[in-house]
């Protein structure tokens, strides 16, 4: 009797008015609410889309009209020098393919500290909070960005409680810590790889979804330790992560097999474990990751296969999604290779939420955790 309301009928009748209001209310937002985070990931993966091609052509043509400059120009309208610097700085760091999001965010905030003319801790804190809010509002879809900013702000507010008489020494200590965070990120990947070695046994078959640098590190370390295993990669449309991952793994002489995303259930009985990375780990212990992770976790759970998540600890975020649509929408353009009629809608969300009951263990640099430990860690940090 109580079916879901056919809200698509209501949505269709009221499309035009809200759009105009949105653009004026949030000038710092990206146009078309395309997730900059997933766009950057696609850029890292070297995915050539028709949009990219047109941008490249335009760039060659002399008219610089790339998507990144759009929000920057709207910022100059505000006339705020500092926020302009932060976002530019962040983008320049983010473009490096091997650097994690949170590290890029913290480096950007460190640049804010360096450029700041504040004379007291309080002033510095306020500047940092403003810069971090700017970064967060510019890309609401990136969880590591939000988590990284929050972590740094938290650290700053706690450090100021340690009475340093000298403001400059405190400032230099903050800068030093921010630099060190970059190393911690690389170290985190190695720690996670070390922790997960025992779980990979000789002769096992691992299913991998998405191109997580942490999972790649885990598999590399296992191969270096002369473990015999094979990997099944999902194709990972639309990013084509499967092809990239398989080329990386075949360089290491690991037997790899590519699967269509729809062939996961078909192959699940020969799989011993599933390894995924995470874009973010939420308070319930669930994860937010590339679209398709939830599906794979459901299939693995129904066939009693363990699902292991490899995530660095700075990806823990204070979010609690109740269902798939409970997060900020992160859309990205999807190419079908054929012409789609304009009346046909496309589900463009780039990510999904996997609830904690489908995950077995999380490998983090804080140790091996079960999903229930995540909220404990978050409480300890934010209390």
């Amino acid at each position: 009797m109580w079916r879901r309301t056919p809200s698509f009928i209501l949505d269709r009748t009221s499309t035009s008015p809200p759009m105009a209001a949105d653009t004026t209310r949030a000038p710092i937002q990206n146009p078309d609410s395309i997730s900059a985070y997933y766009q950057t990931r696609a850029a890292h993966h070297g995915v050539i889309t028709s949009e990219w091609l047109s941008q490249a052509q335009a760039a060659v043509g002399g008219v610089s009209d790339s998507g990144d400059e759009h929000p920057v120009s709207s910022l100059t309208e505000l006339g705020n020098e500092k926020s302009f610097n932060v976002i530019e700085e962040f983008n320049s760091w983010r473009k490096q393919p091997d650097l994690a999001e949170a590290v890029a965010a913290i480096r950007a905030l460190a640049a804010v500290i360096r450029a700041s003319e504040a004379t007291t801790m309080m002033e510095l804190e306020i500047e940092l909070t403003k810069a971090s809010d700017t970064l967060k509002s510019w890309d609401t879809t990136s969880i590591s960005l939000t988590a990284g900013c929050d972590l740094f702000i938290r650290y700053v507010t706690r450090t100021s409680a340690l009475e340093y008489e000298d403001f400059n020494s405190a400032k230099s200590r903050l800068l030093e810590r921010a630099e060190k965070f970059g190393e911690i990120s690389c170290k985190a990947r190695r720690i996670i790889a070390m922790l997960s070695q025992d779980f990979i046994f000789d002769g096992c078959t691992i299913l991998v979804h998405g191109l997580s640098r942490v999972v790649l590190e885990i598999l590399k370390t296992a191969a270096q330790n002369n473990k015999l295993f094979r990997v099944l990669c999902t194709e990972g449309r639309p990013d084509g992560t499967g092809v990239l991952l398989s080329s990386e793994l075949s360089k290491l002489d690991i037997p790899v097999k590519l699967l269509l995303d729809s062939a996961v259930a078909y192959s699940m009985d020969e799989v011993d474990m599933v390894f995924v990375g995470a874009d973010g780990v939420v308070e319930s212990g669930g994860i937010i990751n590339m679209m398709g992770t939830y599906q794979i976790a459901l299939v693995a759970h129904s066939m009693n296969k363990p699902v292991y998540v490899a995530a660095e600890s700075y990806k823990f975020a204070r979010l609690y999604p109740l269902d798939q649509k409970d997060m900020a929408p992160a859309l990205r353009p999807i190419e079908f290779g054929l012409k789609i009629p304009t009346k046909v809608e496309v589900e463009r969300s780039a990510r999904d939420y996997t609830p904690p009951q489908y995950l077995t263990l999380l490998f983090t640099d804080l140790g091996v955790l079960s999903p229930s430990v995540v909220s404990d860690e978050l409480i300890q940090l934010y209390l």
Partner: protein, 407 residues
Amino acid sequence: MPDVQSMVAEFVNKLRKRKIEGSQATAKCTVELLRSVISHQRVPHANQAAALIDAVKAVGQQLVAANPVELAVGNVVRRVLHIIREEDLSLTTAAMAGLDLLDASDDDDIDNCKGIGYPAMSAAVVAAAARSTLRPPSLQTLLEGTPESATVPYTSSSGADSESKTADKSSLTRKLKHDVIEGVNQLIQEISGCHEQIAEQAIEHIHQNEVILTLGSSRTVLEFLCAAKEKKRSFRVFVAEGAPRYQGHLLAKELVARGLQTTVITDSAVFAMISRVNMVIIGAHAVMANGGVIGPVGVNMAALAAKKHAVPFVVLAGSHKLCPLYPHNPEVLLNELRSPSELLDFGEFSDCLDFGAGSGSLQVVNPTFDYVPPNLVSLFITDTGGHNPSYMYRLIADYYSADDLVM
């Protein structure tokens, strides 16, 4: 010292030959041995905790290698190491608090000795930094960089120590050992008293006219059921015999002697009887960090049957059974294969058994333990109370330090 070495060698021998049965007895003997090691260990004046920790670790590694399947040995060694670290920490904070008063008067002297490169920090900061090293790495310590702050309490305490009178210093040495031995005695008492603590909670879980199923023989379960009987609850017990050792028979005999109505069933009848059972109670051999249980063989079958019929599956375990490691292949790595003679008579089967020479092809597998994954367990009852399987990590954080996980 040679006395201690011979004691250690003797104990290692006993462990290797499996002469000590039962995790409680093993844990108690291990702790008593470590207590003698600590009391005989001569400690230097500076960094005494580190010397004690090294000595205990060295002995611990030998013990664990002798019997890797008996997880209680490793657990208890890690508990002792945690006690040493805690006592050292509390002494350091007390010392710093005491010396804070001296700081105000002897500023120049202390500044000179603290000229190692660290800025002058208050005692509270040092204590906070030291406390963070005791807890496992967490999000908040991520940016502070724990390895650096770990050296702070040692250098500043030894630096400050040299300033104070030498009489104070030697009393500090004796105090650490004394405190550690006190802590270890408490641990021994806790291990000995675990049965009573668990049995106290029986009355809350067993109600009138219930039917309880158990498997094999566990002293904890026996005490638990008898405690409920003492409090005038009348209930019935089904005991699965626990082939091939048939220890269920012994348990049934004990229960009848104490006046409980008991029924003995075969292991294969567990699924048939589970629908008539209100609760399954078993004793664990070890509890892993993810909440998984290592129990006598047949327990996984009982757990699966209980899950199918929505019967609560309760596991009783003393705190010395709680292991901080994650099981990655428990059926093989944490199991022990016993002699096939318990299953088959040699005389009858000697012509078909596969001795490796190639004449026969019959193989006999006789595992001692079974692994139950955490999603099949409803409740853990330890001496601290009843807990959810997903809560085990908290108890581990309380009882063990992160640095001791890999010995």
